[in-house]
Amino acid sequence: MSTLTESPPVTRTRHRRRADDVAGLGARRAIAFVGPALLVIALFLLFPAIWTVYLGLTNYRLTGLAAANTSFVGLENYASAFTDPSFWNSLRLTVVFVGASGVLGQTLLGFTLAWSLRRVTGWARSTLEALVLAAWVIPGSVHAFLWIALLDRRGGTLNTILNTPGKAWLIDNPMTVIVLFNIWVGTAFSMQLFSSALSAVPPSQLESARMAGAAGWQQLRDVVIPNIRGHILTNTLMITLWTFNTFTPYLLTAGGPNGKTEILSVYIYQTAIPGGQLGFGAALSMIMLIINLFIALMYMRVGRSKK
């Protein structure tokens, strides 16, 4: 968390001239220091990524003839992905899921919580922070279990509270459920990030604004948001990527009913592992990787143009 809160100073100092060799290590020793880390990255990140590219060009399967005699099929997997309606359905669901739960839900709720808590101190703040953080700290499988207990069709907590016996929330409103679920899980991150960002807004600017007669939302728009723009971008980038790649909704709905919550990560899993189409799954992973890269680059472009 601390590296994130330090990021604005770093961006501010980027125009300052840097010494060529601050640590005084010399090129050779510097390489010796980063060498092991680079090796690990190459082994565990670069190699699998390249391996995925290769697998995506084959018809490799988990079982059957194609598992023993894998053959090179070129771009066939990509062609069939782009003509597969379930791929497009899954991509559409992912966009909805990321937009609603990540970009809108987590960011807005996280900011609202941080904004309304900025002057609250003491036990009230600790309690609220603890509650929100609990959702962030608990492991995903436990989340899923809690939510299933909440939403279960037979004897679920929600049905008992609302007196709606037999309502199958996970079947009737699957997308809404996983969106709310993901907001609940991830809001703590945004809240914490915005809390520290808000405390860094210079009080003098806020005071001047107040003296000039700016209303609350005007202060927010003209003082606070310009000050924390960097944080907003970082937050949105992280959340978009996390939400895009998250797999936890699978534990609630398993992509169902009938593919209605089959977001891209779930679709890839279903295709590659239970479906056994490892080559096709690798091609889909590649597509996902490229979309991720595109999202990251887009945010960085936006970040630069505002400077």
Binding site: S7, V10, T11, R14, I41, F44, L45, L46, P48, A49, W51, T52, L55, R61, L62, T63, G64, L65, A67, A68, R153, R154, A168, L170, I171, D172, L237, L241, W242, N245, F247, T253, A254, G256, P257, N258, S265, I268, A272, I273, P274, G275, G276, L278, G281, A282, S285, M288, L289, N292, L293, A296, M300, G303, R304
Partner: protein
């Protein structure tokens, strides 16, 4: 520029995770005691795995392995002067997940020495070179005296292209279970044997009048996996006289399929005789078991597994035990659509499958693993196994001895097995099965029968090739 690089690095790290999760699909997460140090000290270590676990799925089998098989086998080996160590690696998950796990183990050259598989997976595992014909794994298999006791048809369940890959674990059959208490309440006979689909539907209509009761559970949807094909669509398809695979061709958009999908539509969509939501729930099959056991489902189509391992009241055996099973639960043969409309002009139909146990070709102690496998299939092993729950064994000598004591299994063995059908033992079958399940899911969730069966036929063409599809 530096901050850009940093952000790219962050982004790349995040994306690496995606790549990792996709590419490292073969990452073994099970330790392999078979290759442990102890092997070098004169102990021969082997492991076996099965989708059975004490206190959970197939508990009786797991207990038999832990409490009888392993002690007896190690004792037997010790008497021969062999220091054998056997470890059971239990699993208690959905069959599809179990299959995935075993396939991943085998694809990375790991896995237990003796492995339980559904007989229908043998083809695709053999084609992938994950398993090898028994004779190639060990010289001892050919001379086993047990083969003469196992009928060829049963051996077929563990064979592929006329080669034995393992020892079949017996046979099973599908029947209709019904709750006699609910039948009485609805004014239906407690000794019931429907002779057509219409009679099942009529009973369903009568049962629907009882408040809070779901009349019929005919498995549908992909969440139930193979249980949808075996207990739902396929026996019904046999009842229309349509085989799934015949003369080298797969049944596509046939009249038989349309009839079956219409039956689903009648039950789940038109008349509300079943619970369409249950078919889509992630844990729908287990829920259907507990709902039947609780008296909320009146008619359920399942294999004899349901009687033996689900509603069995014996302590620690059934996952949804029914204390009064023998009095309350009735069973009947599955009727053809109308009398005589089934395959071979049969009045009644069923589907059979069966588990098999195979040897891992990567085994370091293949001969000892074979000895364990053969011992597991000895008459005394089946007798010990039957003390927990009786099932139809692959051996004629054992069946003759043991089945008499259980009226339900005698019923399956004498009435159901003669009219049963088997799934095509081809590597494409599991994928075809998945599209069939999808077709039932489509119908149950509101798609028209025409559209669902057309989509199935398209999928089928993609799986087996358009020339191998027949339709009428």
């Amino acid at each position: 520029m530096k901050s850009t690089i940093r952000r790219v690095a962050t982004g790349a790290a995040l994306m690496g995770m995606v790549a990792l999760s996709a590419a490292c699909s073969t990452g073994p997460d099970n330790e392999d005691p078979a290759t442990g140090e102890s092997a070098s000290q004169g102990t021969q270590a082997i492991t076996l795995t099965s989708n059975a676990i004490v206190g959970g799925k197939n508990a009786a089998e797991a207990e038999w392995i832990d409490e009888w098989l392993i002690p007896e086998f190690t004792k037997m080996q010790k008497d021969k002067g062999v220091d054998a160590s056997v470890k059971f690696e239990p699993q208690g998950v959905d069959d599809e997940d179990y299959k995935t796990k075993v396939a991943l183990d085998l694809s990375s050259g790991k896995g237990s020495d003796v492995i339980s598989l559904d007989g229908i997976w043998i083809g695709e595992f053999a084609q992938a070179d994950y398993i090898k014909p028994l004779d190639e794994v060990t010289d001892m298999a050919a001379d086993w005296d047990g083969w003469s006791q196992i009928p060829d048809a049963v051996q077929g369940a563990a064979s592929f292209e006329d080669q034995r890959y393992g020892i079949p674990q017996g046979s099973d059959g599908r029947v209709i279970y019904y709750n006699k208490t609910l039948f009485e309440e609805a004014g239906l006979p407690s000794d019931w044997q429907p002779t057509s689909w219409d009679e099942i539907l009529d009973a369903g209509r009568a049962l629907k009048k009882i408040d809070g009761v779901v009349p019929i559970q005919l498995n549908a949807g992909t969440a139930m996996g193979e249980a949808t094909s075996m207990q739902g669509l396929l026996p019904m398809l046999m009842g229309t006289g349509q085989r799934l695979w015949e003369d080298g061709k797969w049944a596509g958009e046939t009249q038989g399929l349309t009839d079956v999908l219409n039956l689903y539509k009648t039950i789940y969509v038109d008349e509300g005789l079943g619970d369409p939501i249950l078919q889509q729930e992630a844990a729908g099959r287990d829920t259907s078991f507990s709902e039947f056991a609780a008296g909320n489902i009146a008619i359920l189509l399942e294999g004899d597994y349901f009687w033996r391992s689900v509603i069995n009241p014996a302590e620690g055996v059934g996952t949804a035990p029914m204390e009064d099973r023998d009095e309350v639960v009735g069973y009947a043969k599955i009727p053809s659509m109308t009398a005589g409309s089934g395959i071979e002009g049969q009045d009644f139909v069923s589907m059979s499958g069966g588990a098999a146990r195979v040897l891992n070709p990567n085994s370091e102690n293949a001969d000892l693993a074979w000895e364990l496998l053969a011992f597991m299939n000895s008459p005394e092993a089946f007798e010990a196994r039957a003390a927990g729950t009786l099932s139809i064994s692959p051996r004629d000598d054992v069946n003759e001895e043991l089945l008499k004591s259980d009226p339900m299994l005698t019923f399956v063995s004498e009435e159901v097995l003669p009219v049963t059908a088997y799934r095509p033992g081809l590597a494409e079958y599991p994928e075809v099965s998945l599209s069939l399940q999808q077709a039932t899911l489509d119908v149950v969730s509101g798609t028209s029968v025409e559209e669902a069966s057309k989509k199935y036929a398209d999928d089928l063409g993609g799986i087996v090739g358009a020339d191998a599809v027949m339709s009428n």
